[in-house]
Symmetry: C4
Subunit: 501 residues, 4 copies
Amino acid sequence: MGAASLVPRQVVAQHANRESCWIIVHNKVYDITDFLDEHPGGSKIILRYAGKDATAAYEPIHPPDMISSNLSPEKHLGIVEPSEDFEDVVKTAEDRKRQLLLDSRPPLDEILNLHDFEAVAKKVLPDKAWAYYSSASDDEIAIRENRAAYQRVWFMPRILRNVTSVDWSTTILGHKSSLPVYISATALGKLGHPDGELNLTRAAAKHGIIQMIPTLASCSFDEILDAATPGQPLFLQLYVNRDREVTKKYVQHAEKRGVSGLFITVDAPQLGRREKDMRMKFVEDDGCAKVQDGQDDIKKDQGIARAISSFIDPSLAWDDIPWFRSITKMPIILKGVASPQDALLAYDAGVQGIVLSNHGGRQLDSARSGLENLVGIVAALKTRGPWPNPRFSVFIDGGVRRASDVLKALALGASAVGIGRGFLYAFSSYGQPGVERAIEILRDEFEMNMRLLGARTLSDLGPEMVDASALHTHAGLAPRDNLYEATYEPLRLARFNESKL
Amino acid sequence: MGAASLVPRQVVAQHANRESCWIIVHNKVYDITDFLDEHPGGSKIILRYAGKDATAAYEPIHPPDMISSNLSPEKHLGIVEPSEDFEDVVKTAEDRKRQLLLDSRPPLDEILNLHDFEAVAKKVLPDKAWAYYSSASDDEIAIRENRAAYQRVWFMPRILRNVTSVDWSTTILGHKSSLPVYISATALGKLGHPDGELNLTRAAAKHGIIQMIPTLASCSFDEILDAATPGQPLFLQLYVNRDREVTKKYVQHAEKRGVSGLFITVDAPQLGRREKDMRMKFVEDDGCAKVQDGQDDIKKDQGIARAISSFIDPSLAWDDIPWFRSITKMPIILKGVASPQDALLAYDAGVQGIVLSNHGGRQLDSARSGLENLVGIVAALKTRGPWPNPRFSVFIDGGVRRASDVLKALALGASAVGIGRGFLYAFSSYGQPGVERAIEILRDEFEMNMRLLGARTLSDLGPEMVDASALHTHAGLAPRDNLYEATYEPLRLARFNESKL
Amino acid sequence: MGAASLVPRQVVAQHANRESCWIIVHNKVYDITDFLDEHPGGSKIILRYAGKDATAAYEPIHPPDMISSNLSPEKHLGIVEPSEDFEDVVKTAEDRKRQLLLDSRPPLDEILNLHDFEAVAKKVLPDKAWAYYSSASDDEIAIRENRAAYQRVWFMPRILRNVTSVDWSTTILGHKSSLPVYISATALGKLGHPDGELNLTRAAAKHGIIQMIPTLASCSFDEILDAATPGQPLFLQLYVNRDREVTKKYVQHAEKRGVSGLFITVDAPQLGRREKDMRMKFVEDDGCAKVQDGQDDIKKDQGIARAISSFIDPSLAWDDIPWFRSITKMPIILKGVASPQDALLAYDAGVQGIVLSNHGGRQLDSARSGLENLVGIVAALKTRGPWPNPRFSVFIDGGVRRASDVLKALALGASAVGIGRGFLYAFSSYGQPGVERAIEILRDEFEMNMRLLGARTLSDLGPEMVDASALHTHAGLAPRDNLYEATYEPLRLARFNESKL
Amino acid sequence: MGAASLVPRQVVAQHANRESCWIIVHNKVYDITDFLDEHPGGSKIILRYAGKDATAAYEPIHPPDMISSNLSPEKHLGIVEPSEDFEDVVKTAEDRKRQLLLDSRPPLDEILNLHDFEAVAKKVLPDKAWAYYSSASDDEIAIRENRAAYQRVWFMPRILRNVTSVDWSTTILGHKSSLPVYISATALGKLGHPDGELNLTRAAAKHGIIQMIPTLASCSFDEILDAATPGQPLFLQLYVNRDREVTKKYVQHAEKRGVSGLFITVDAPQLGRREKDMRMKFVEDDGCAKVQDGQDDIKKDQGIARAISSFIDPSLAWDDIPWFRSITKMPIILKGVASPQDALLAYDAGVQGIVLSNHGGRQLDSARSGLENLVGIVAALKTRGPWPNPRFSVFIDGGVRRASDVLKALALGASAVGIGRGFLYAFSSYGQPGVERAIEILRDEFEMNMRLLGARTLSDLGPEMVDASALHTHAGLAPRDNLYEATYEPLRLARFNESKL
């Protein structure tokens, strides 16, 4: 068949097995029989859509042109015959329930803090999206710690400084930012909202903050750049590809389109096990798998995170830095530094900065929070010169929900702070207006907190305003150990003879 | 119309919109159409009462003469025609429910501690009043910490001292006090009880303790002074006005009427975000606001706290101190000091004392408790001379519920301790007898605790009687992080196939 | 009427008010009209029994001969006429329920640890008795801490020592004890069991441990001594009377009857406020008291603890020690020491020992646990000579539930450990066999724990076997702050419009 | 009767009391009347099976040949007559329920971590087996601490090391192991699965890890060895018998059959009180025991643990080590060391290693975790030479659920880590495939965690990768004190008169 042929839906439906597997994506019909075993996410997940329209499942987790550019032309079978009842098919019971929840969201002006977005997102997101966004690795200790660490740092505010006007704007890698906050990269934005990452791009432009574009965006890189305003500063988060030519092309294209900073992820030679995400797969499955079955397929069936990340190069090492330096003039920042030793190696390697991060708790579980690492890393960097150091930035992300969290990090020496999930949940709940509301909330919080701290500008912040002495105790909030508690059988006391009572 | 005209209620009812807005307050009719957009609390809240009697809503949060003195005479339209069924209108279902709760309060002699008042107030207060009184800023970490900090200080009592008679009286800024406790300023007393702050004035007179009058009292300053007995010592809490002449007039009037101490609030250049209070507004609203609506109005609609505080001057600074010194001879105390640096600045600026306070957790969230700051601040002040120092007092407030809390603070060097909410809840629950019972409870607790500590007078208290070594660990009580827990999705374990069971 | 007259019950019933108040106790009729206002527990509680039989209420909280010896002979009105249905009257619904619970108690061999007794006692004790026994002062922080402190000390056991036979016997003040444990004094044993303290005396005799007789026993001192076996060592706990002659007579009588040690309570110049006990009173009252009523009576109506303790002398001081030395040759031990300073004063005053105790959490709340004080006090006493010191014993009590608790205290330097509530709950649940079972459980636990620790005798115990480094952190177990949590209103998140869902 | 006689079931049934007690085990009939009082587990438990088939109860807790080799030949009465309905008898309601649970287990590929096995085992195991496996001693503080300790150690991962291939294999006592983990000994495997310990032997062979064979295995030693593959390395855990000849024979037989290491348990001169296990007995009993009854029998009726352990020699001591050295050439490892002093004694005694262990929390309660002891013990051993030291291994077990736990221990200096319950629950839930899945999960976790830590081989691990500074605080997770909470009566606040509401 030629590329322009019209394929009846019944014909597609006849190719619904491992021997002959056709699928529809964006109204085009593809024969993916030979590709089945090469699919990074495993064949099982595709076979669920054999002979059917896979667009809804395909779209949020693949760039729009992935299938067309990876499949040889003879597998492009044509256009599917239009269907009258297609729309009806899509409106499942779950869709209707979700629509009802969207209709009853709290009005946006009742959203008072970033927690609120999270609570709304938890309700309105499809289960699979919530699992992917909210999950973290293993026992989810690191994600919990990210938030808890901020609650172990306390303020000692200063008084009687004229705080009529306070200014919390800053520059990040030389670019003006209306907040000391940037939008950190999070993957697969269309799982949460049809416009995906574009919600962030547009809101960032409007409010003068900087977005870091994720490698694993649902929107293509160019879609995002096309949505940006002229001169809008944007950063790029980079997962380095096993094929360095792909990476080189990607980086140089980004630089050409005006991206202002390259954040190379260094804490993800392999994506973490996010069991909440992995279990979601089982919920969707029919649950009839036999106990002994499926051993071979396990590795390919480990939730969204594993499915989309097989290209990441685990061989990335310090001696790759010069090569990056050779292919781009963008400032290079290493994202995911966790030790004073590596902070000094980064400084000495000549990069422009580091992000202290445990990847939102999604990679190595039990990794200390960025905030806890900040203290020792700033101390180490002071051995290289006065701090702050104009040639080296230290960013931090993870667990930030309040401007006060940001101010604690800045007081301890951070240059600026990344917020990922906060903005992600904002657009998942309310689209672009949600992101704008989130920025507005942060702005209000910065104004209030700066005044109450007695800081007129960010340079007034300093270590004497915070008490971090309890930071390393890991005491304070009392987390629950759900897995332990779920299996631990509490001790009982002696029992009465209830039959007598 | 002349000021003495009689206006029929039906006529008032016709002016019930933004174009023409009349309201009734204390049986007088006002045309506030032009004032709508200037209302610090926003126009929306007034419009709810357009064409109606607004007295109940107006009274607790405005001084009695505010409307008459701020509105030009031609807007004073006259007296409203008396109505027979007015009383019935006021008795809403909520009023009746509240009355029933008041009728079933525990007898006053079953109130055993200050927690009890809080529990009663929580039930009998109107929701809006409870929200305003009990709320604190942001994540309400600081308010929780205020109480928790006391539980991290432990007693090491002394024995075999003749404690037949123990004496816990003291002098505060030169005035006798039957307890080492003063009544700290809390705003808007009429939200809790029709007599508002007068409950405190009268009980203080009767039992020989000192009340600090709040700038934002529901009763006018003069009403309170008129209720005082001759020579009754009173302090004044001061929010400094943007218009310093207003402040000067207010302070000099207070001094003239015999006020004995000026407590200038220095931790509130802007009032904190008290989200519990802010959400209360939404509960009252019809909830039909569209998601995108109302963005512009948000700032003016942020609960009671913001509505009443717009006059506060954020430019207040150290160099204003000499001016205050020039306008009054009252001792000046800075309320809201949180760092050793500022304590020394205050000492060197020649003021008579400071209050270590995080404003009941209502301003900068995550600010350390006064108790925790006390240790370092007393240490710093000892560098200026022996402690206690007759020319400089260090007060403390926040989280105090027991005489034992007070004794811990005194043992660590405080001069006296302020209790705000404790007394507020006492009169909200039981009026003046409630405040008297609260004082009586404290008196009993002081007697018992002094004896058990082996302290015959307050000067027997000293640091060797307390173990504060765990104060800075922030461990001990295990607070719940409600916001986090409400959105965090606990990890699950593998699931059984329940359809088979 | 003569002392031998027979008084009809109807006649007694006619004297049922403040003007003429007769009561029956142990079948004798007394006119207590004039005594009403002198009753240490207040008149109100007696008036409840005016004209009725008060034996059940009288017995557990007064020595048997108190009424007969304090009331002048002419008020002894005679013997009450026997009543057939008297027994029936006593069998209230509560009695029947209690009997049912007693019948369904777990068999004694299913009681595995001292917690079990507490759980059984909680169910089978009358509410008033449970409230009196289990209550502690104020916020009940100290009682909680007593138990928690033991859980912050950890073992580092030794291995490969021949532990075929282990010996946990010791001598206490020169008397053999089969356990390094004595029965600490607790008051009012008949609230829990008709035989009261005799349960302890008999079990102690049988198993070779030492009982400390409480001043406030339900059984009279002589009853207890009469129940003892010849030569059975007994200690005496002493509340010093305001009338020193009473005390002298009491102490010398005790010495004469063979008591071997005098434990003078020094942490109770006044008994603590035990609010749980106090609230019990209100439960019994009709609850109809008016809000303003009863202010005057409050002081006399503060639960059992206050009612029975008015004789205690708050003037007791260090300079009384020589007088005690002059009236008795028994070793003198000060019970309730809490600071290194006082431990040294006691040593230098020549007494034979001290008990580190916060009185089971029933006196000064927030007082550190005996265990926490032990570390510093032993360190202080080592400045007076090598430790253990044959002329000075350091005992400890509070929160002990396991032999392992005892071993921790001994390893840190204690001479022996007192257990109060543990044995009290044992006989409240099962009488004397309960106490014997408790001793047996401890014996088994000592055997096991000594072997597992690698200690063949108690002298093998030493500080290197325990890690007490976390003792002062007060972290570890996470207590709930019930009072705070009961009134704290948790933060909410933004709400959905539920009417749409 | 001769050994080959056929005995009718009705005849057996007639010998069902203390005077004449026959039982059937594995189809053979035995007269155990005279043995009743010698049964280490007490006579009561046997009498339950008098005249019946006791195989199901006998099998998991006795070696197969114990009865035949301990009972004199004339008590072997013959073979029981086959019964048609025997199978039906065994299928009790509980069996059927258990089968249903087994049928609905999660498919094995949905088991994502070792917690999952525990959750499944908790449901599918018979109550008695779950109680025996999951119980720990006394208040179960030590078992809780084992898990919690790992959560107080945090990672500081290294970045930008080429981690394309990572290798987590090691050698343990000179034998290759595919994981730095061995299967630690746990007793009575047949309680969980009919193949008992053989599940472990076979899975270990297949995946190249080492099993430690327990003295108290349900399978006989030779059965296990027969199941092993040629050359498969196996260790032996040894409880030393009071009769050293028995031990000598056992050890030498093991060496002859090729066992590669002798792990002598030194922390169990007596088995701990595991009250959960002990209470299980009561659940099975009829509950009709009288309160005073059964005192004498208590000691023999203390759950499975006590029943099977009476042979263990409490006299084992350091001077026995040369004797062990004389009877075997296997490396000797002391299992259960807990102090630096004993670690040095072991080193100096010439053994080849130690296991830091508190016996899974089953022996001395409150004993510190192996992980906490590791830090001080490695520090002590460094005084004997550089660490790691080729002639001395330090193993650790207790609370390990994740590869990340293992890596923390290795980074702090451990040689390898034992996992007991993790594998036990794996085969209790799924048999051998469960154990293989557990190994597979650990393998995946090692791969991921090594990469994320930046460790290419285990020798890359070091103390700079972990922050153990909070390990000794015992803060962090907030455990519940179930026994205390079950009996503690929370404070109440003043009560409203509910009859009016």
